[in-house]
């Protein structure tokens, strides 16, 4: 078992972002198939059958989400979430920059499936190059009559618009994203109503991750059953993993879900650097609880296996830490990230993330107190599940797992007043 290149099949070709290269590889034929041979509901059915789950982090079954779109006369919108803000995550970027037409095809098919004529790609502000690539790809596709008022001559109108974010992590959260897209402050909205019933401009809206949407063409091409034949019981298809940290070959690798972690870590990424020992792994982006070296033994990369170990597959951003890592500082640095990125709307997240940093600051400075650790652990009972959006819970991920799993390291630092790693 090794890499399985479905989404990444084209990325190494020269000029892979160009329409002609994409078309040569059979590009946009899946859109043609959807538009001319399938009814929207049939596309949704195939996606349901495929077992595709959202690749943005939460892993919600995509076909089921599409099924929530009410049958109304209101316009419907599709949003491609290209905010890719989760620390450690850089997988969407590869698709955006190297195979933009795959994404556009996925968006077009998905828009057709949910009855949307307009789709937005909300791309993080820092991906300036990616935004330009997407814009020129849209232009190419429109000029070729693939997108636009009469997509591939089918009479179906598909307009795709790129919207650049302004640098807030929370704008990756779908309702904050919608607010930001509408020109409001990027504050998450209360749910219900969910975007599927009231999203952009209070109209039914589906938000999907780049990778999720880019997987759709393959499902249309080869069928939901074929897609579902890849992977495990609850984790179907392939997934991009962006692996970073103390390894020899960081990068983005595509694997069939259920592949042993060992394959990713040692075969593909070349193992822990400089012959050092593995200490901890954050398996799915900074918000997912970290796992110790023992905990990742025998782990397979799929939703259920990682969940059974107390963490999540998340966005597939694997952060590897070797034994030179000071976990106190890791936890402190990530806490600073969340304290900076909290939108500040709700009390537990706003105040919790700030206080977390204040306490960890002190510990890192050598002025920690043993009681601090219990206070920090107690944050779980105040914040977990009590925040308006999942960011507050996300901030707890590294904090609670770091302290419980590496408590002795924290205690040593507090006792001695300095870092002992």
């Amino acid at each position: 078992m090794g890499e399985y290149r479905l989404l990444l099949a084209n990325v190494d070709k020269p000029g892979s972002h160009k329409l002609e290269v994409y078309r040569k590889a059979g590009g946009y034929e899946r859109l043609r198939k959807a538009l001319f041979e399938m009814k929207p509901d049939e596309v949704v059915e195939e996606v349901k059958k495929s077992g595709l789950r959202g690749r943005g982090g939460a892993g919600f079954p995509t076909g089921v989400k599409w099924g929530f779109v009410p049958k109304t006369d209101l316009p419907k919108y599709l949003i491609c979430n290209a905010d890719e803000g989760e620390p450690g995550t850089f997988k969407d970027r590869v698709i955006i920059e190297k195979d933009p037409h795959l994404l556009l095809e996925g968006i077009a098919i998905s828009a057709y499936a949910i009855g949307a004529h307009e789709a937005f790609i909300y791309i993080r502000g820092e991906y300036e190059y990616g935004a330009r690539i997407l814009e020129s790809a849209i232009r190419e596709a429109e000029e070729a009559g693939i997108l636009g008022d009469n997509a591939l001559g089918s009479g179906y109108r598909i307009k795709i618009v790129v919207h650049r974010g302004a640098g807030a992590y929370v704008c990756g959260e779908e309702t904050a994203l919608i607010n930001s897209l509408e020109g409001r402050r990027g504050h998450p909205r209360l749910r219900p109503p969910f975007p599927a019933s009231k999203g952009v401009y209070q109209c039914p809206t589906i938000v999907n991750n780049v990778e999720t949407l880019a997987s759709v063409p393959f499902i249309v091409e080869k069928g939901g059953d074929w897609y579902a034949s890849l992977g495990t019981e609850k984790s179907k298809g392939t997934k991009l993993f962006s692996i970073s940290g103390h390894i020899k070959r960081p990068g983005v690798y595509e694997l069939i879900l259920g592949t042993p972690f060992d394959v990713l870590l040692n075969e593909l990424a070349g193992g822990v650097r400089d012959g050092r020992k593995l200490k901890a792994v954050i398996p799915g982006g900074s918000s997912t609880p970290m796992l110790t070296a023992e905990e990742v033994e025998g782990m397979t990369l799929d939703y259920e296996n990682i969940q059974a170990r107390g963490s999540q597959l998340g966005s597939g951003a694997v952060i590897v830490m070797d034994d030179s890592t000071n976990i106190v500082k890791v936890v402190w640095r990530l806490a600073k990230f969340y304290a900076h990125e909290s939108c500040g709307q709700c009390t537990p997240c706003r105040e919790g993330t700030r206080w977390m940093v204040q306490i960890l600051d002190r510990i890192v400075r050598g002025e920690g107190r043993m009681e601090d650790l219990d206070v920090l652990l107690d944050f779980e009972s105040i914040m977990a599940g009590n925040c308006l959006c999942p960011l507050g819970d996300a901030a707890l991920g590294p904090l609670i797992s770091g302290i419980t799993k590496f408590r002795s390291e924290f205690e040593a630092q507090i006792k001695s007043g300095r870092c002992l790693v």
Binding site: R354, W355, Q358, S381, L388
Partner: protein, 737 residues
């Protein structure tokens, strides 16, 4: 209806009620900060978390709808833990400066901490504190005390859309404030003070004066406009320190005039003794002498030589008293319409503010509704927030012009003509509306909008609209400048308009005047006429609180009571009666209008019955089918100017309301963006306005929405006699740099 149980208590509530509402009904306290009954639910503070059977997480009660059969618990260890945690979090960086915080005693953070918080804190780190910020004359903002519940921001967004007040930055460094303005004084600023659950936004008028718990509360009403908003006054040692709008009457919000306007009661310059003229001074000669003097003087005049000029905010009792006094002596002349518009007809077939807020289409005509009926303007904005389509046809309405969906701005002299042409179905190019604009308005009229007509409109226009509205089944509110219209009209206290009355004074056919609480120089646009009339009046009694331009001509000054110093009833624009109680003892010789008249009447040998047994307000509706009078503009120049008293000066007893006046410190001239550009003027420049003779210094405000060639100039400033150079509200003028 849904039946749910909360902590074992069963309640039945509407299907769309929230858990919090249900709990209130069941008498169970769920603490909250960001919830407010008149704001859209936000679910931000997380203070109201409760446990619901079958839900894995705690859920915010303020935003969670009930379900039939739902079982809610607020008394579990998890809820307790979450509450303690939220309170602890809120207090982490809170300065805990309750000992000198004005909110102490009415602070939700204090109350909730006492009830649900832990006595100790685990916080040992440094607090982040912020400096105090003063946003104009009314509000102080203490960032450090702010719990970021966003109630204030939600209020400005839901009701004052367009007001510069928002949350800036992110995370724990979020802060509330303005983007570009150093001040906020936007008619409804006071509500920010009241809506803030903690001491983050407090009133500058009340700052460091008294502790909340030492105040006793007296129920009264604001008399500044025809809404007569309910207001409770906080009283200590026979002095009012605070106003609070505790009852939803007529609506949930009030305006700055009411909230900051009670100040005149305590004002050091208020006159509390009856005075008599000696040479060119008014002096205290003792009550007896004053009464004798007045009765003797009155004896010299025939009934037709005596007239009354009445104030705004007249109570039912005072109006009845005046009526009986006039009847006792056969006096026929009285006038309440001092603004010079011929106010009849007025009235409305709308019953409440709620009806306005629910309207889908509203056509607002003439002006200036936001100045003269602030809370109606606010309610119109609320309707906009709820998706109503509001069209405004006016020459000037400071607040609404920036906030409506569709604005048709015209010249002041064209207002009546344009409205008249719209309702008579004939486009007239001289109204300043293009044919296309006219057609858009006409199309809007087909949606059967609610019509709100402002005070500037003259009689013929009013009659036409009422006629149209009744024939076509439209809702309408016809407003006038004086809030006394219902009672004054019911008691027949009007004659042929203030100008003809003053002409009679000038000509000598009316010799004796009772001027009750009105400064004619300020209120009557024709200042020349006022000067001539008062200059030739034989005898004048002035009743009021303060000495002013009109009182200067008085032979006698009688001090009046105000607000909660007397019991009285008022009739609001919806024809509803409201009551103000007497809660303050009088100090010296202050009396109500009717009590003075009773003393005088009895001195003259006639009893005066002050009891009002029955009061049924009368409405005047349709009156004939006249053409509007043409407006002849005096003066000369390239500009047409409208002279209006600005909001923060447009109230009774301006002399005694220093706090409000701070928001309007000097006369402002509003200039359209076109004229500002061609004259090279920008905000804050000074110009002089030439009104055919004298010229007056004004500060420029560039107002984007104004029509080219139109100026809107403030009046109502002491020592700034613009009115005296005018004979109407509108005139031709020149600008000199």
């Amino acid at each position: 209806m849904a039946r749910i149980t909360i902590d074992g208590i069963a309640v039945e509530v509407r299907d769309d009620a929230t858990i919090l509402e249900a709990a209130r009904k069941a008498g169970i306290d769920i603490p909250y900060f960001c919830y407010h009954p008149y704001l859209k639910p936000a679910g931000l503070c997380r203070m109201c978390l409760v446990e619901v059977e079958g839900m894995p997480k705690l859920t915010p009660a303020c935003v969670t709808q009930v379900r039939d059969g739902m079982v809610v618990r607020t008394d579990t260890p998890r809820v307790k833990k979450a509450r303690e945690g939220i309170i602890e979090f809120q207090l982490l960086h809170h300065p805990l400066d309750c000992p000198y915080c004005d909110q102490a005693g009415e602070c939700m953070l204090q109350d909730i901490t006492y009830r649900y918080g832990r006595a100790t804190s685990r916080f040992v780190d440094e607090k982040e504190l912020f400096p105090t910020k003063f946003y104009g004359p009314f509000i102080v903002y203490e960032q450090s005390r702010c719990i970021l519940c966003k109630r204030c921001v939600r209020f400005t967004h839901e009701y004052m859309a367009g007001t510069d007040w928002n949350v800036y930055f992110r995370a724990a460094h979020s802060l509330i404030g303005t983007y570009e303005n150093k001040e906020i004084a936007d008619y409804f600023t006071c509500n920010l003070v009241e809506i803030c659950p903690v001491g983050a936004i407090t009133s500058r008028l009340y700052r460091y004066k008294v502790r909340y718990w030492t105040l006793e509360w007296a129920r009264g009403v604001c008399r500044e406009c025809g809404l007569f908003c309910s207001l409770d006054y906080g009283i200590r040692e026979n002095k009012a320190y605070r106003a609070k709008h505790n009852v939803n009457s007529p609506g949930p919000w009030i305006c700055d005039k009411g909230y900051f306007g009670f100040e005149c009661m305590n004002h050091p310059e208020r006159i509390k003794f009856a005075l008599e003229r000696r040479e060119n001074k008014l002096v205290n000669v003792g009550l007896e002498k004053v009464l004798n003097g007045i009765t003797q003087a009155l004896g010299r005049y025939k009934p037709e030589e005596v007239a009354f000029i009445l104030p705004s905010g007249l109570s039912v009792e005072d109006a009845a008293g005046i009526r009986n006094f006039m009847d006792n002596f056969g006096i026929k002349k009285a006038e309440y319409r001092v603004g010079m518009e011929d106010y009849l007809p007025f009235g409305s077939n709308v019953d409440s503010l709620e009806e306005i807020s629910e309207a889908r289409n509203i056509l607002v005509l003439s002006g200036d509704i936001s100045n003269s009926y602030p809370v109606i303007a606010l309610t119109i904005c609320e309707a906009i927030g709820k998706g109503a389509n509001v069209v405004l046809l006016t020459s000037w309405d400071y607040y609404l012009m920036k906030r409506v969906n569709n604005l048709f701005c015209i010249k002041p002299s064209c207002e009546d003509g344009a409205i008249y042409s719209l309702f008579s179905g004939k486009w007239d190019e001289f109204t300043g509306l293009s044919r296309e604009e006219y057609e858009r308005l006409e199309a809007f009229l087909q949606t059967k909008p609610m019509i709100v007509l402002g005070p500037r409109a003259q009689e013929a226009v009013r009659a036409l609209i009422v006629d149209y509205a009744i024939k076509n089944g439209l809702k309408y509110i016809i407003l006038d400048r004086s809030s006394s219209s219902y009672v004054a009209y019911t008691y027949g206290l009007f004659c042929k308009g203030i100008d003809s009355l003053l002409e009679e004074v000038k000509a000598g056919s009316v010799k004796a005047l009772f001027v009750l609480g009105v400064d004619l120089f300020r209120e009557v646009p024709n200042g020349k006429l006022v000067r001539d009339a008062l200059g030739s009046v034989d005898f004048m009694v002035y009743m009021g609180l303060f000495f002013n331009g009109t009182a200067r001509y008085a032979d006698y000054f009688l001090p009046l009571t105000e607000l909660v110093e007397e019991e009285a009833h008022f009739v609001n624009v919806f024809g509803k009666l409201t009551k103000s109680k007497k809660s303050l003892a009088r100090e010296y010789e202050e009396r109500s209008i009717r009590e003075w008249l009773k003393l005088i009447s009895e001195k003259m040998g006639k009893k005066l019955d002050l009891e009002v047994r029955e009061f049924k307000p009368k409405f005047v509706l349709v009156e004939g089918n006249k053409k509007p009078k043409d407006i002849v503009l005096s003066g000369s120049g390239d500009f047409e100017a409208l002279f209006e008293i600005p909001f923060y000066r447009n109230f009774r007893y301006m002399e005694g309301k220093s706090k409000l006046l701070e928001a309007s410190p000097e006369p402002v001239l509003n200039v359209s963006i076109y004229d500002a550009r061609s004259l090279g003027l920008s905000n804050g420049d000074y110009v002089s306005l030439d009104i055919g003779g004298p010229s007056f210094k004004y500060k420029i405000r560039v107002f984007d929405e104004l029509v080219k060639g139109v100026l809107v100039a403030d009046t109502g400033f002491e020592g700034f006699p613009v009115n005296e150079a005018l004979n109407n509200r509108i005139a031709k003028v020149k600008i000199k740099k």
